[in-house]
Symmetry: C2
Subunit: 213 residues, 2 copies
């Protein structure tokens, strides 16, 4: 049985939990938490030298990290990854967009608003305001696309949707008003209606232990 | 003939120019420049709604953006992308690492040090210092891997190496001391020695016109 390192609060970990749930793949989870600095520890870097969650260790000892690479790996030969090269490239286009132009603003403001004290938040005010502008720009790009398409890429539900769902569905935690993006809202509902979908804090049937496991 | 939108200064555009040169694919370039704000213009967003370079428009009018997606697309059925699912996932692992944990610090400090005035640079001092720490962490991850492997993934030269070369080779522009990373230095030499490699500001045989083209 494979082991997933990461906590429930991380949207990047949630992406991996979502695809494993959607595909019915059993796993155990070691609750490795960014908020405690655990991914940066020497013990964790011996597993994933990049020092970040999520990381997956397979039965044969091989390790894979980066949520996008994990989504790609598990989606091969399933309906969540298309067959055509053009469609595949467009799936990855949205996944790189997520990591470069969406997550650094929407996920980071969620983290800052949920976990910083008032004093730190004041100190970070300019950064939070800048992230707010850039995060809204990312949501506007999604809105424009989803006003004309049911799914992000390839004309169907793919790992691009899983990748973007993870931090878009909780964007309100970071101060983003999703009511401004009605097509995004309808798309979130479509993703939630997919067979096997789980909520971010729902992990019935997964054995979870605290780091270091 | 395909059209590449982007400028010579952008490492993300350089990745696409590198793979096109390596594969001998002819193109024209429209010099669309971040420093003039051109990618954010309405005219450019009509081409790429994400408002970023690089973007490629093919003869049939289709557009693809995101350097990672473009590398993936052009590398299909070439030696630059491996056949095995595990190897492919590891290529993408390094490419997502680049966009999430390397480029935002190394490329951004290069931009800030090359293009900001002294007053703006003082205002951004804390951000530059934080980027310096995080960028060095990314280079240390590469050093650790490249001390034991000639290439980043799949045991051979792939698009992961092109993706990481683009901003690593110019990291000194951002205040990073590459002499601290000797294995990275030897890997940079290996990438430079690959057939078809071009320098970042070398574009013999490419027709380039100013935006809007």
């Amino acid at each position: 049985m494979l082991t997933l390192y990461g906590d429930l609060d991380s949207g990047n970990v949630y992406k991996v939990r979502l695809i494993l749930a959607r595909l019915g793949i059993a796993y155990r989870r070691v609750d490795t938490t960014q908020n405690r600095g655990e991914p940066q520890s020497a013990a964790f870097r011996a597993i994933n030298p990049i020092g970040k969650i999520p990381a997956v260790v397979f039965d044969d000892g091989r390790m894979l990290s980066e949520s996008g690479a994990l989504l790609f790996y598990f989606a091969q030969d399933t309906a969540l990854f298309p067959d055509e090269r053009w469609d595949q490239a467009n799936v990855l286009r949205w996944m790189f967009f997520e990591q470069y132009s969406h997550e650094p603003y929407i996920a980071v403001n969620r983290h800052l608003l949920l976990h910083l004290g008032a004093a730190e938040r004041t100190e970070m005010a300019a950064r939070i305001a800048d992230n707010h502008v850039r995060g809204n720009a990312a949501l506007a790009v999604m809105e424009q696309h989803l006003a004309r398409h049911d799914w992000l890429a390839a004309g169907r539900s793919t790992i691009a949707d899983i990748a973007l769902y993870a931090y878009t569905h909780s964007a309100a935690d970071g101060g983003f008003d999703l009511s401004r993006y009605p097509a995004v809202g309808r798309w979130l509902d479509r993703v939630r209606a997919e067979p096997g979908h789980i909520g971010q804090f729902d992990e019935a049937a997964v054995e979870a232990v605290r780091w270091p496991g």
